[in-house]
Subunit: 425 residues, 2 copies
């Protein structure tokens, strides 16, 4: 039996009862002969409460101090979890990100892990302890200041520790039973996926699936760490995410659809009347990049020959919409375009699966399903293993259900997927 | 203008408004040309809430994890305070005990400071920052684990940093205007003391005055750091505690009474029927010491010649009463005594002042005042600069007022002392 890294989100440790339940689960893994490293998020709403306090004392809290503040959250949950485990008669020690050797760059609030030196964790394990590590946090290599890793930070901590400690598996405990073929809140007949390869999971995460974030899957893929996403409430086997199928299936030539993802958190900006000549698109996206805005889909329509002008549309997180409009307006003189259109009533539906590109029937069936459901398509974008469309936001749920059914993903059983509600960080 | 260390207790930073008020006061000190180091406690009830959580997950939380948990409290307050200062346009950086170089032994929950290496604080100050330091916490020299300093820990952090940084003064901000000649809640006419020497302050602290703890005064006395105890609410000058009178007064031969302290937190144990022969008292107090119980007054009555037996009484914190009784019962066979009596309805009144021993009139007046007030004396104990008696707990307030009046300590003005309520840690 080897080393297991387990990660528990904030909803799993929301109160004393949750912490005690999680402690039992951890002790079970230890009793089964594993060395156990646990990464834990802050309890329930702690982070939101700390952010609220920060806003009360300062409208623009400084990054360094904001990180110092937020990391108090995991400090509380990890110490309590270690106490609860010791109360069950097993040895446990808690470690901050810094003590666990999570070394980051110096970008406060969204630091990147640049190294993991888990010497103290190794020692604690060798002495028979269960090691509890604060998720979401690290220490800057340059300034020795405390940093936080931003969204999905605790999952990334878990995968990074699993890689550094050469763990057998990184178990991500959450409030759902695993990764589903579609969001179970939208598609009642969504099925839990037993195994999905890392590339497909990356596309699902990029397309709006919220169970695992892109960043954590990418890290696991690079270091070849299998992830097991499962529920801390039900204890059932969940979804395995890995580079190789643990069942050892041979690759097949026909398309294997993994699931349908959707996303209603994006907006669309259309730059109208752009001169159709080299360098125009570059100028537009340079302005966007300089404002540090991440964009998603980009589509350029065919130029109308009579005017020599074209339209360029792209999607981006709604929260960044204002900043993007400002950046483009400022650069209007040098770029040269007629006007900007902003639309935050869009939704995106994506079909993800291996072998899609070499099976033209997939694309056709996808569009047919949307058409049959009366859903109008506004933008289209494809990759090797994904096809995405933008529609009206009101049409998204209906579109997801139609596509899910059309590709035979609906569950045969009458059972509906269970959703426990709430998400950790 | 030199370096000032300021310490703010939990009641001063109980909420966002409190933090902003304290931030203004700190910035004022900076504007006056000082380098400023601030030691801060956890906000209001944070520590109690964390202790409550710990008790929910484990009836006997482990020391290491308990310290990890509690130190989250100062992490929150110090980060918020730094943000609030930056919001006023001044540079500030917060530091944990570990980052500030507060090195301790490895005794969790009541660690002792063994060294202070404030390199990062010096750098922050030299770069023009106000340095905010978490009180009450340090890092163990041996294990590198986080420790807490126990009761009065934040005051001790402040004095220790003041000593290590060679500060001009250590300002202890609290919710009262300073040290009074008696507890203003008991004696309405108690007067604020402008200056008191360290030895008298030590005796007052040991005798029940709660404004400053013995430990912090002792540290300041050893390193010759003047303490200025003052209110974070009123902003008035408070009480100076130092080895030398800042007004440069000459020492005088007559007794100078500093104040009257009282304490109702102790209990009395009487060991009845102890054989009056060498080694008996030693055996009793060895048993107590082995149980790690601190005792206060010890009195042995004259042996009754007819029996060859004597009684030994001592006082100790009520919280330790059970432990002491257990320890003595276990050692009964080897010590040899008839029985134990336990009494937790006692109170102690102490008169503190220089030159007392050489002025026999002081003791006489003290006993006379108690007698006039109808207060019965059960135990008596004296030192160079203090005389203490134990009475019934019900008589304590009346006794304190009587002594305060008898020694001319009552305020001439009709003003009553202001008490803001609440105490920090």
């Amino acid at each position: 039996m080897g080393l297991v890294v387990q990660k528990y989100g904030g909803s799993s440790v929301a109160d004393a009862e949750g912490i005690k339940r999680v402690a039992k689960r951890i002790v079970d893994a230890k009793k089964n002969g594993h060395q156990v490293v646990v990464v834990v998020s802050a309890m329930g709403d702690t982070t939101d409460e700390l952010i609220d306090l920060a806003e009360q004392v300062s409208p623009m809290p400084a990054g360094r101090e904001f990180d110092m503040l937020l990391t108090a959250g995991e400090r509380i949950s990890m110490a309590l979890l270690a106490m609860a485990i010791k109360n069950l008669g097993h040895e446990a020690q808690s470690f901050t990100g810094s003590q666990a050797g999570v070394i980051t760059d110096s970008v406060h609030n969204k630091a990147r892990i640049i190294d993991v030196t888990p010497g103290r964790i190794r020692t604690a394990l060798d002495e028979g302890n269960i090691a509890i590590v604060a998720g979401f946090q690290g220490v800057s290599a340059d300034s020795k200041d405390i940093t936080t890793l931003g969204r999905g930070g605790s999952d990334t901590t878990a995968v990074a520790l699993a890689a550094a400690l050469d763990a057998e598996v990184c178990e991500i405990y959450t409030d759902v039973d695993g990764v589903f073929t579609a969001d179970p809140r939208v598609v009642k007949k969504a099925k839990k996926i037993d195994w999905i390869n890392s590339e497909d999971m990356l596309e699902l995460a990029a397309s709006g699936s919220k169970v695992l974030l892109h960043r954590c899957v990418e890290y696991a893929r690079r270091y070849n760490i299998p992830i097991h996403v499962r529920s801390s409430f039900s204890g059932l086997p969940g979804t395995w995410v890995s580079n190789e199928n643990p069942q050892g299936d041979e690759p097949v030539e026909h398309a294997i659809i993994s699931g349908v993802a959707h996303d209603v958190s994006e907006a669309k900006i259309t730059v109208v009347g752009v001169p159709d000549k080299p360098g125009e698109a570059a100028a537009i996206f340079r302005a966007i990049a300089d404002a540090e805005i991440n964009i998603d889909m980009i589509v350029q329509n065919v130029s109308a020959a009579s005017t020599g002008l074209t339209d360029i549309s792209f999607t981006l997180p709604k929260a960044e919409g204002h900043k993007a409009i400002d950046a483009l307006e400022k650069a209007k003189g040098t770029i040269g375009f007629e006007s900007l259109r902003y639309d935050d009533q869009i939704g995106k539906i994506s079909l993800v699966g291996a072998g899609m590109k070499t099976n033209p029937g997939v694309t056709a069936s996808f569009f047919q399903a949307l058409s049959d459901a009366g859903v109008n398509i506004e933008l289209i974008s494809t990759s090797e293993i994904r096809i995405s469309v933008v529609t009206r936001q009101d049409d998204v749920n209906e579109a997801v259900r139609a596509v899910h059914t059309a590709f035979g993903l609906d569950s045969d059983s009458g059972d509906e997927a269970v959703v426990y509600g709430g998400t950790g960080r």
